[in-house]
C-alpha cells in the first residue's frame, strides 16, 4: 500500500513533489520546535527561580540565613536561620540511605548471582510494584505503621514521638529501596561476564564473586547509584511532611520531629502565602537551594560513572 503510494508519488509532476518536500521541511521544523520548546520552557522556568531568590536575600541577610539556628520564617517576627532544615535534611537522608543502599545492593547481589530464574520472575514484578507505590501512601504507612511499630521500638536513645525524623527516614529508605536495587543491578550487569566466570573457574564461592569481583568492578556504577539515591531522599517531600512533623527543630536526635528543605516547601504551601510576602519568597530561596543540591548530586553521579568506569571491552 505505502509502496504503491510512494512509487506513484515519485512519478507525479514536480508540483506534487514540491509540495511533499515542503511538507517534509515543515515537519522537521515543527518537530524541532516541539523538542526544544518542551525542554527549554521548563529549563527557562528553572532559571527563573533566581529572581525571587535574589529578592529574598535582599530582605534577609546572608549572615542570618547561614548564621542562625532558628527557622521560623512564617511566624511574627520571622527568623531565617537555615541550619535546622539543613540538619533535618541531612539526618533523614542519612537514615534513608543507610537502609536503601546496603539493602538495594543486597537484593541486587541476590538477584544477579543467587536467585533462580523462577525466583527472579516473582521477585522483579513485586519490586516494580513497590517502586510504583505513591509517596503519599508511604507517608500514610509511615504515620500509622512505621512510627508506632518500628521507629519507636528500635531507637536506643530516648523517646520517639508520633512525629520523628527517624520514622520519616526509615520510610524514605524503604521507598527508594527498589530504585536503588534497579540501579545497582544495572551497575552489576555492566561487569563483563567473563570476569565473573573466570572467578568461578578459579574456585571462588558466590560470596567471593559478589564482594571480590562484581562489587569491585561495578563500584563506579554502584557509587553513582548511591548518589542518585541520596538525591532522591533529599528531594522527598510528602513522606517527610506527614511523618516528621512540621516543626523545624534544631536537633541532632532523629527521635525528634524534623523538617527538611523539601518538606518545608510543602509545609509553606499548605497555607496560602501572599505573593509579595517574605514567606512566599522563602519558598523560592529554599527551592533554589534544594534544586542546586540535587542538581549537584546528579551531575556528580554522572561524573563518577564517566570518570571511574573501567572499560573492559
Amino acid at each position: 500500500m505505502s509502496v504503491l503510494e510512494t512509487q506513484s508519488a515519485s512519478l507525479q509532476p514536480s508540483g506534487r513533489k514540491l509540495r511533499q518536500q515542503r511538507f517534509e521541511r515543515f515537519v522537521v521544523v515543527a518537530l524541532a520546535v516541539i523538542a526544544t520548546s518542551g525542554v527549554l520552557v521548563t529549563t527557562g522556568v528553572v532559571f527563573a527561580l533566581v529572581g525571587p531568590t535574589i529578592d529574598f536575600f535582599r530582605e534577609v541577610r546572608v549572615s542570618e540565613f547561614l548564621g542562625s539556628t532558628r527557622w521560623y520564617p512564617l511566624y511574627e517576627p520571622p527568623e531565617f536561620g537555615v541550619w535546622p532544615l539543613v540538619v533535618g535534611t541531612f539526618f533523614i537522608m542519612l537514615i534513608a540511605v543507610a537502609i536503601a543502599v546496603p539493602g538495594g545492593l543486597g537484593i541486587a547481589f541476590f538477584l544477579s548471582e543467587y536467585a533462580s530464574p523462577r525466583v527472579r520472575r516473582v521477585l522483579k514484578p513485586l519490586l516494580e510494584i513497590l517502586a510504583g507505590i505513591p509517596t503519599v501512601v508511604f507517608g500514610f504507612f509511615a504515620l500509622y505503621f512505621i512510627s508506632p511499630n518500628v521507629a519507636s521500638k528500635i531507637w536506643p536513645i530516648g523517646e520517639v514521638g508520633f512525629y520523628s525524623g527517624l520514622a520519616a527516614g526509615i520510610t524514605v529508605g524503604l521507598m527508594i529501596l527498589p530504585m536503588m536495587t534497579t540501579l545497582a543491578e544495572d551497575a552489576m550487569a555492566a561487569v563483563p561476564r567473563a570476569l565473573v566466570d573466570g572467578a568461578y573457574a578459579l574456585g571462588a564461592t558466590k560470596r567471593e564473586v559478589c564482594t571480590g569481583v562484581i562489587f569491585q568492578a561495578g563500584l563506579s556504577g554502584i557509587i553513582a547509584a548511591a548518589v542518585i539515591a541520596m538525591s532522591r531522599a533529599i528531594g522527598e517531600t510528602t513522606i517527610v511532611l506527614l511523618a516528621a512533623g512540621s516543626d523545624a527543630v534544631f536537633s541532632f536526635n532523629p527521635g525528634n520531629p524534623m523538617q527538611t528543605m523539601a518538606s518545608f516547601i510543602g509545609f509553606a504551601g499548605l497555607g496560602d502565602q501572599p505573593v509579595d510576602s517574605t514567606g512566599y519568597r522563602t519558598i523560592f530561596a529554599v527551592g533554589s537551594m534544594l534544586f542546586l543540591i540535587t542538581f549537584g548530586l546528579n551531575v556528580m553521579s554522572r561524573r563518577i560513572v564517566n570518570r571511574f568506569r573501567e572499560a573492559y571491552e
Binding site: 505505502s2 509502496v3 510512494t6 512509487q7 508519488a9 511538507f23 518537530l31 524541532a32 516541539i34 523538542a35 518542551g38 525542554v39 520552557v41 521548563t42 529549563t43 522556568v45 527561580l49 525571587p52 539493602g103 538495594g104 543486597g106 537484593i107 541476590f110 543467587y114 513485586l126 513497590l130 510504583g132 507505590i133 505513591p134 509517596t135 503519599v136 501512601v137 507517608g139 500514610f140 504507612f141 500509622y144 505503621f145 524503604l174 529501596l177 527498589p178 564461592t205 558466590k206 560470596r207 559478589c210 538525591s231 528531594g235 522527598e236 517531600t237 510528602t238 523539601a262 510543602g266 504551601g269 499548605l270 505573593v275 527551592g287 534544586f291 540535587t294 542538581f295 546528579n298 554522572r302
Partner: protein
C-alpha cells in the same frame, strides 16, 4: 604428620569460608525480605484499616471534614481530569521530541547534546521543585491561572515530560534500522518512513512508557500541595478553570486530620488509588505483550 596438619588447616579455613558464605546469603535474604515485607505489610495494613469504609458511599460522597460522610468523588474526578489532560499533553511533546532527537537531529550536534543533557537534568529535579515553579509561573505570575485543573495539568506535564521523552526515545531506538532502510529503498520520504513504519513499530514501547508516566502523575502529591489541591472540594471539576483536588492530596488531607476515624477513610481512598494504579500497570503489561515483536 605435616600432611594431616595441612589438611585440617584447610578444613578449618573451608568451614570458616562456608560460614561466611552462609552469613552473606543470610544478609541478602534479609534485604530481600525487608523489601517484600514492606510491600506485604503496607498493602495488608491499609486493607485492614480501610476495609470498613470500602463501599459505594466512599465513591459517591464528596470529601468532607466529617468522617461519617467523607468520600472521594470530587478527588476521583479531579485525578481523572488532571491525569488525562497532562497525559495527552505530555504524550504530544514526548513523541515530538523523541522523533526529532532520534530521527532527525544529528547525534553529534551541540543542540542535540544540549537537549539530552537538559532532559537528564530535568529528570533528576525533585517533584516539589516543579510545584514551586508552577506556583510562580502558572498559578501566579505570567500565566496567572490560579489554583485550577489547568495549572495542575501544566505542571504535571512538565514533571513527567523528561521521563516520557526518555521512554519514547528508547522505543524508537528499538526499531531496527533495516525497517527504515527498507522504506527508503522503496522510495519513501523521511516523514513517510517515520509515520508509516517507525511509529507503528514503536507504539508498544511508547505506550508502555507513557502509561508509566501517567501512573506517576496519578500518584504524585508533592507539587500539587503548592498548587492548591489540598482542600475539601465539594463539586466535580467542570473545566480547566475549576477548583479541584486529587486522590493523593485527599489522602494526605485525611492523614493529617486529628480524628481517628479518618484513618479508615484515608486507607479506603488509598485502596482505590492502588487499584487504579494496578489497572494502569496491567494495561501496560498487556500492551507490552501484545505488541512485542522479534525483529
Amino acid at each position: 604428620m605435616s600432611l594431616t596438619k595441612a589438611a585440617s588447616l584447610q578444613d578449618t579455613t573451608s568451614t570458616a569460608r562456608k560460614l561466611r558464605d552462609r552469613a552473606f546469603l543470610g544478609t541478602l535474604w534479609l534485604a530481600t525480605l525487608i523489601a517484600l515485607l514492606t510491600l506485604i505489610v503496607l498493602v495488608f495494613t491499609t486493607f485492614v484499616d480501610g476495609r470498613g469504609k470500602l463501599n459505594l458511599d466512599l465513591l459517591r460522597n464528596f470529601p468532607s471534614p466529617f468522617p461519617e460522610d467523607a468520600g472521594i468523588q470530587s478527588a476521583l474526578f479531579g485525578s481523572l481530569w488532571v491525569v488525562l489532560t497532562s497525559g495527552i499533553l505530555s504524550l504530544f511533546f514526548a513523541i515530538g521530541s523523541a522523533i526529532y532527537l532520534e530521527e532527525f537531529a544529528n547525534p553529534n550536534s551541540r543542540v542535540q547534546r544540549l537537549i539530552t543533557l537538559n532532559i537528564q537534568t530535568l529528570a533528576g529535579v525533585p517533584s516539589i521543585v516543579y510545584g514551586v515553579l508552577g506556583l510562580a509561573f502558572v498559578v501566579r505570575g505570567p500565566l496567572g491561572w490560579g489554583f485550577t485543573v489547568g495549572s495542575a495539568s501544566v505542571v504535571l506535564t512538565m514533571m513527567v515530560l523528561p521521563m516520557m521523552i526518555v521512554a519514547s526515545r528508547e522505543a524508537l531506538k528499538a526499531v531496527p534500522p533495516s525497517l527504515r532502510e527498507g522504506a527508503y529503498a522503496l522510495g519513501a520520504t523521511r516523514w513517510q518512513t517515520i509515520s508509516k513504519q517507525v511509529l507503528p513499530a514503536a507504539t508498544g514501547g511508547i505506550a508502555t512508557g507513557s502509561i508509566l508516566g501517567v501512573s506517576r502523575a496519578l500518584g504524585e502529591s508533592a507539587p500539587l500541595i503548592l498548587l492548591g489541591a489540598l482542600a475539601y472540594v465539594s463539586s466535580n471539576p467542570s473545566g480547566f478553570d475549576s477548583d479541584y483536588t486529587v486522590l493523593p492530596l485527599l489522602i494526605f488531607k485525611y492523614a493529617t486530620e486529628a480524628q481517628e476515624e479518618f484513618r479508615a477513610v484515608g486507607a479506603a481512598a488509598i485502596i482505590v488509588l492502588l487499584v487504579l494504579l494496578v489497572a494502569l500497570n496491567l494495561l501496560a503489561i498487556v500492551i507490552r505483550d501484545k505488541t512485542r515483536k522479534s525483529w
